[in-house]
Symmetry: C2
Subunit: 359 residues, 2 copies
DNA sequence: ATGAAAGCGCTAACAA
DNA sequence: TTGTTAGCGCTTTCAT
């Protein structure tokens, strides 16, 4: 590395490159931007100087004057959730393919941090902000999101809501999500077709739009099969493996008035499976279990889990694709992505004796 | 929202806030920065104006003149790998706790994209760049990393290598990793203690430093137990569930001269378990299996997987903690994090008849 | 207590 | 073909 003493304090600037190449900063800028005719001779000199000095342009200065780098920000609860991670990967992939930079922020489910992060993204000049995951939709939420949307829109950025509803169709935000109700109805139907009549929904999260929709689908399927309304049995234990485990253990301790479990998502299913095994029962022999999302390892559960496949990566891709395609912020546009059942080994007809039996 | 017509083109600037508050931009800056005495009266006026206009400072302009936001960048293969995701979460958490912004970039394993991303982070002015995950350590790698380190260092930034070696102790980079060899030796010892003598290592990746270290630990344990060198049987199928599944199927088709499998990581183990089950054999009755990393769902495999716990989130936290603590770029500093075995149900003594038997 | 003005590193007119 | 110059939005002396 041909190192001068020019590099004494911090980063190399365009001026130093210019000096070394014996040209003006304008020329260097032109060469580096590549959108302006420059004779090969000087071009080479400049390039050499830049390489020798290991120069990289200051993105902030660039952003200040010109467009700046296109940047998309994804905000999610946590990256360690397989489902969210896949969505993030989808966004990242689609963004990278277009030469956009992708920033991932996590909130741990705290609306305060979400707000903070969106603010931050406004400061950084993100052109596209994607909020991922279901939320409880109360007045505070509606107001908050309306503010995001307005503010982002005012500075020419776009807001996409992934798997959460728009607070109001008039707001400048795109919505992309799965048809949770349809998916839930389908998999409940699958259980019903196998002969189950007493199915508990494990993992309700009242107020959470995604879960509420699944519960709605579950109830709808029950109704379609002519079951009375009180056949529905929803346990609002929330999401996560631990919650599923705890709730299932509790449930098995009290009553066994059910032959199948519809878990709110695959992590809940994992916890439930473990709890069932701990109780000395077998899946699907004694109890059938289904999940939601088809995370990559659902196939490796014991037994392999029958679940609803929600193409998470595609959700992420779709979010950026749609946002970038659609030229005017077609307010209130709502995109629903389809899902389908993946049948594996966690469902079979209920035990004939009418209830689960100890092994 | 008290909206003026000031907001016509793009973002609200500090000047508009100044006008609305009837003060100079300097005063606004002082109020917003909060590091300068300002009389409460004007302070309130400015704050009100800023809120009315929904003003957010331009981070790029700020970065240009002063410190700019502290930013740490994590580079990894993919976020959908549970292990990497946890490392990223650790980095994110530790960074957020200090008010730093965290950027996640993925490379898909392509050194070219890694280089590109590091370059990008230099442009954006990241103060800390963390490269995560093992790599093949060839001359190209060494040269590339040396360049990163030098360049980053020249602009006052820091480089941390997580789970990959420093190309040369003189380079200004920190290394934080697990003691792969010790972990592998321990779990191999666990298998040997159970009575296994013919153990295959599934998931070698020659050149990959992390895997090579595990293979070394495996060999060391074998040697310690007085087994001949040729007792080692390493299958270089690489990582990932698919690879593990394929390689294991192949292996079962040909020979069964082994009673236990040491999978290079838990995803490989997942694939192997599936392949073994597909072949009509049972774990651990016919074959014992162990993994590496203890990903969150390892407990839900069939059977629950005995594996080596590598506290991934702690690795991420440690990376930023150490990098931020240590004031001079203590070149070549090497930090080793400990691991331990998590015993579950995938290991038992080998079948007494001397080999696996069909069910 | 507050304003005016000088840049931060870069790009894009405008000159030469 | 290349150089000069005026900002981009902000912070920070230096005056007032």
């Amino acid at each position: 590395m041909g190192s001068d003493m020019t590099t004494s304090k911090g980063r190399v600037t365009i001026r130093e490159v210019a000096e070394r190449a014996g040209v003006s900063v304008a020329t260097v800028s032109r060469v580096l931007s590549g959108n302006y005719p420059v004779p090969p001779a000087t071009r080479t000199r400049v390039l050499r100087a830049a390489r020798d000095l290991d120069y990289v342009a200051n993105a902030h200065a660039r952003a200040l004057v010109g467009g700046g780098r296109k940047m998309v920000a994804v905000v999610l609860r946590q990256v360690t959730s397989p489902f969210y991670a896949q969505v993030a990967e989808g966004v990242e992939a689609e963004a990278a393919a277009r030469g956009w930079l992708c920033l991932v922020g996590t909130t741990g489910g705290d609306p305060g941090r979400e707000l903070e992060f969106v603010q931050l993204m406004r400061e950084e000049g993100a052109r596209l902000v994607i909020l991922v995951g279901g939320v409880v939709e109360d007045d505070a939420y509606r107001e908050r999101v309306a503010r995001y949307a307005q503010a982002l829109d005012a500075s020419g950025a776009r807001l996409v809501l992934c798997g959460r509803p728009a607070p109001d169709p008039g707001i400048p935000a795109l919505v992309v999500e799965f048809d949770n109700e349809a998916g839930a109805r389908a998999i409940t139907g699958h259980l019903l077709s196998a002969g189950h009549r007493r199915i508990v929904f494990l993992g309700g999260l009242p107020g959470n739009t995604a879960l509420d929709a699944r519960v709605a689908g579950y109830r709808a399927a029950l109704a379609e099969h002519g079951l009375p309304t009180d056949a529905a049995h929803v346990i609002d234990c929330g999401l996560g493996r631990a919650a599923g485990h705890r709730a299932m253990s509790e449930l098995l301790k009290n009553t066994r008035e059910f032959t199948a479990v519809f878990a709110g998502d695959d992590m809940v299913a994992a916890g439930a499976l473990r709890a069932i095994a701990d109780a000395g029962l077998r899946v699907p022999h004694d109890i059938s279990v289904v999940g939601y999302n088809d995370i990559p390892l659902a196939e490796d559960f014991n037994p392999p889990l029958t679940t609803v496949r929600t193409p998470a990566e595609e959700l992420g891709r779709a979010a950026v694709r749609i946002a970038l395609r659609d030229p005017d912020h077609t307010a209130g546009t709502h995109h629903l992505l389809g899902t389908h059942i993946v049948v594996r080994d966690s469902v079979q007809p209920p035990p004939t004796d009418g209830g689960p039996t100890p092994v």
